[in-house]
Amino acid sequence: MRVTTYREALREAMREEMQRDERVIIIGEDIDAYGGTYAVTKGLAEEFGRDRVRDTPLAEGVIAGAAVGAAMSGLRPVAEIMTINFSLLASDQIINTAAKVRYMFGGQTNVPVVFRMPAGGGAQRGAQHSQMLETMYAHVPGLKVVMPATPYDAKGMLKSAIRDEDPVLLIEHELLYGVRGEVPDIGEEYTVPLNRGDIKREGTDVTLVTFSRAVHLCLQAAEELAHEGISAEVVDLRCIRPIDLDLVLDSVKKTNRAVVVEEGWKYYGAGQGIAAMIYEYGFDDLDAPIGHVTGVDAPAPYAKNLEKAAFPTHTDIVAAVKKITPVRSGR
């Protein structure tokens, strides 16, 4: 094991898969000459050539459509959409084509395409550049939506996504690229499945159900809660479609309490969906209503102080946990 960044882990995943399989290509805006908007693809064009690492004109719709068509005809494209905010311009091809063709064409085609895109706020990028939007895609049957929080998961899941025969959205987070974590040494092959969550910290009093960058906020909160005698289990879903529901339910069975934590908007968002699933299948295990920590229900503001107030912090999580969890005596 060694320590590396989320960014490098993603790049390694692509490099290894491109070495392994000639059919893997990367297309997207500014992935080559610019060096990658978040420098994830840096160096890959030099290594694999500009046939396989292709800068596109600035046009998300055709990037997505061409990626889907390429996937249907033998390539294994990884399409980078510069940020999820711009994916709305590609949403028709993702939702109306990628998610549906296998089904509507009677199973005659696979669509082994990967869409990589960063989401999220927190860098003062304003209303049009700070959205999560994962819910839009997670709602759609035919897609897989993967949102890793650590370098280990990012690498392992991107490798799985590239090998997967179905369309996968790998949603990264703009503030995670510099995050460091343990990753097996180069050459030590591993993948992470696209249908399994992961307990990132064990606990007994309350279950924090979360994904993407919020995982780190939850770990921070769990640490703080531990000092106050509350033992929080952190369940990192890692993928929200499919969702590893049993992992969540088993945890809730043990803790009898849950708080769902996400960065995105609250209403009709992924978190409400997760909460509804826990209620539906785990109603009797719950001793209290599920807590829910989310971003504020507003477009993202630019000003530093407003933005700070707009997104959830570990303090919000601590407060939400305390609201539903009695501190056990004697601890």
């Binding site: 004109p57 068509g69 033998g74 085609t109």
Partner: protein, 340 residues
């Protein structure tokens, strides 16, 4: 000079009569489909190809079996030309298990892996970017197929047209864009939707090669397609073809056609029926006669009628197929639960 050595556009009598047959098969198939719709056997939307037969049949004659065809919801004709079994096609329209797409797609979503007829898309212009992807595969995987994508004059208005044509020239993709300009999208006349009267300046905007053809003349279409396909295959360069044509029927079976006069449509049918025009040409060239035509007509009608029989006697899809084939990976379904 022996009669059977006569050729037109480099095609011999057999090839020419095949072309004639293809058009007739399209014509009769669509008539039967219209009947099926009226009888309530076919549901949803039904867009017929009637009037436009010269385009799909002419282009197809320029293709190798290995070449790829991608189309819109108005794709029955393209599928028949590419060799898709009329029985399986009609069964798809009937929503039966024996349909090309297992009855799950319907009229708008025809796909035949075997014949490289790769869909049937119902979001206007979405097929153009998808076709670029197929062409990219051909280029990078060094498979020597050409991708042909059909679309209407309305599709030209969508941003996807612009993005796809630009990508195709910038990346030099072996793709042929065939615009079937039938003068209307749904009710929107093309002269109200475009400020230009031909697609030529649009092609120039992307420095793309362009061919304008009379879409009612199958041989003109064939020759333009031949050039474009050769260009794509040999030099990996795209072409935009504009085929001026006319749909003899409404946009779909649900269209009251309030936006055009009966006279206009009648005029086109009388003077520009692509099958009649082609028969005249063959007759004038002394290549074929009424008897030849009659034989083709009978055969096409019979095949279309048999397709209806086949479709109508085919079983409905199994109810369990409702949730099959959504994904390759069965654990990709959201409701997947851990094995215990």
């Amino acid at each position: 000079m022996v009669i059977r050595d006569l050729t037109l556009a480099g095609l011999n009598k057999e090839q020419l009569l095949n072309l004639h047959y293809t058009m007739l098969l399209m014509r009769h198939f669509e008539e039967k489909a219209a009947e099926g719709y009226t009888l309530g056997k076919i549901g949803g939307f039904l867009h017929l190809y009637t009037g436009q037969e010269a385009v799909g049949s002419g282009v197809n004659l320029a293709l190798e079996p290995n070449d790829v065809v991608i189309s819109s919801y108005r794709e029955h004709g393209h599928a028949l030309a590419k060799g898709v079994d009329p029985n399986a096609l009609m069964a798809e329209l009937y929503g039966r298990a024996s349909g090309v797409s297992k009855g799950r797609g319907g009229s708008m979503h025809i796909f035949s892996k075997e014949h490289k007829l790769f869909g049937g898309y119902a979001i206007v212009a979405a097929q153009l970017p998808i076709a670029c992807g197929y062409a990219l595969s051909a280029k990078l995987l060094k498979e020597n197929f050409v991708t042909v994508v059909y679309f209407g004059d309305g599709a030209v208005d969508e941003g996807a047209f612009h993005e796809a044509l630009n990508l195709a020239t910038v990346w030099q993709l072996p793709v042929v864009f065939v615009c079937e300009n039938n003068l209307y999208s749904m009710g929107m006349a093309v002269e109200r939707a475009w400020a230009v009267s031909s697609l030529e300046p649009r092609a120039k905007a992307y420095a793309m090669d362009f061919e304008q053809v009379n879409g009612m003349n199958a041989l003109d279409v064939f020759q333009a397609a031949q050039k474009a396909v050769k260009r794509a295959r040999e030099t990996s360069r795209p072409t935009l073809i504009e085929a001026k044509t006319y749909r003899f029927r409404g946009h779909s079976m649900a269209d009251p056609t309030a936006y055009r006069s009966k006279e206009e449509a009648e005029q086109w049918r009388q003077t520009s029926d692509p099958i009649v025009l082609f028969e005249n040409a063959l007759r004038e060239a002394g290549i074929a006669n009424t008897e030849d035509f009659k034989k083709n007509d009978d055969r096409a009608l019979q095949i279309a009628a048999k397709a209806v029989e086949f479709a109508d006697s085919s079983p409905l899809p199994d109810l369990q197929s409702l949730t099959e084939d959504i994904m390759v990976d069965p654990t990709g379904a959201i409701a997947w639960r851990r094995p215990r």
